[in-house]
Point group: C2
Chain length 246, copies 2
């Protein structure tokens, strides 16, 4: 058997997230069905770097699977994509050591969140950006974002329905980029709690709108309480952008 | 009664085109259902400048409808959009003379066609551009396009299933614009035959790919025969961009 590491992109619009669940269309379900078909019915699992939620997109999700076939590594995307539906696509693949694990070996993840800051909604982007029609102060947002960098207990930025115990994470960078009429939030960190990016963006937008001040952020972190932070913005603006390994 | 002229945009992905047809989700059906609801059950028709096909989008479709309500004209979009699904949107509205007719009074239409000219398909644009992974010669396309301008019998550029008798149309402009990795074809004309824009784009792409020469276009028009022209490109790259009235 050989282990394959693959980069996988998907448009989350019509998926109930990554992870297999009964009665739902999920990315893992589609991918495993294809891999199992390629392996002539031999059940083949795909393990990702982590789940993504309903409507959340991926540009650089990483997964691994095992195969007895010795085809050249670069042939895998074409073989898999031929059988996948049009909203999911394997972009690259590599043979890796059999000890490689897409989830446990990830050392950094990058998420991006797209906010469309215009007065009138663009129906063509409705599934891919968060429409936010209010005036926003980008400098205030950048200032607020700077307080999120570092190693903190991020309990305030974690959805209450979680069974995670250790709430300490290290955020390496929070960057805010202006792309025409869109604002892109870039988050790089060692790991993220459930809904963490979406709560961070919700909090930053509230600072941008003047509902909070940038200087409130240290206190929000300190509170270690979900109600201290802002709203959770919708999943459809979120992209798992990249996963790094040593 | 007052007549309302309205600009309507829709993402054609999940529509079987504009026109009402049994058992299908169409834009006209959604719009008329909303107008009828607003008019408390009084059946209200929406007449567009013309049909659009399945998967074809609109940025500037024009329609008209009649109403006994005397609300300010600019209030209509909000009232209608509140009840419309997220893939269709009224962008503007105006009271017009009761003789105004969205279809019969149109003097010019503009269509645009988006071609994504890259090697690897972008799944996020899969419903909004035509993925064309071949090298193309833009200058050859521009040259070929120039022959399409003017008043011609466009039988060669009309799908065979049509009951239209007069095949003469006047094309005012064919423009080819490069937008990053996309090529946009802009067509302005007095009117268009069934599938005309999509057959023109198919023919132009074949010239760009080297399968035809720009100088072949006058002969293709002269042939007045559908097989003389190129393939019909898919509907999902096409946008009804603007409709003009005197």
């Amino acid at each position: 058997m050989q282990r394959v590491k693959a980069i996988i992109s998907y448009d989350g619009t019509n998926f109930s997230g990554w992870q297999v669940q009964p009665g739902a269309r999920t990315v893992q379900k589609e991918v495993e069905a294809v891999l199992t078909k390629i392996h002539k019915g031999q059940r083949t699992s795909a393990i990702a770097s982590g789940r993504t939620d309903s409507a959340v997109h991926s540009v650089g999700q990483v997964m691994h699977f095992d195969t007895p076939f010795a085809i050249p590594e670069e042939k895998w995307p074409k073989a898999i994509n031929k059988l996948l539906p049009p909203d999911v696509q394997v972009k690259a693949s590599f043979y890796v050591d059999s000890s490689f694990h897409a989830r446990f070996d990830a050392v950094e993840k990058e998420y991006r969140y797209r906010v469309h800051n215009v007065k009138e909604k663009d129906i063509f982007r409705r599934n891919h950006v968060y429409f936010y029609p209010y005036p926003i102060n980008v400098e205030e947002i950048k200032q607020a974002a700077s307080y999120m960098v570092g190693t903190h207990d991020f309990s305030s930025f974690c959805a209450s329905r979680t069974d995670v115990v250790d709430m300490v994470r290290t955020i390496h960078e929070v960057r805010v980029e202006e792309h025409g009429d869109e604002l892109h939030f870039v988050f790089r960190g060692s790991g993220f709690l459930y809904n963490m990016v979406r709560i961070m963006v919700g909090t930053l937008l509230e600072a941008g709108k003047g509902l909070r001040q940038a200087d409130d952020v240290p206190g929000i972190i300190e509170a270690k309480s979900r109600p201290a932070a802002g709203n959770t913005v919708p999943g459809h603006g979120l992209y798992l952008w990249d996963v790094s390994y040593d």
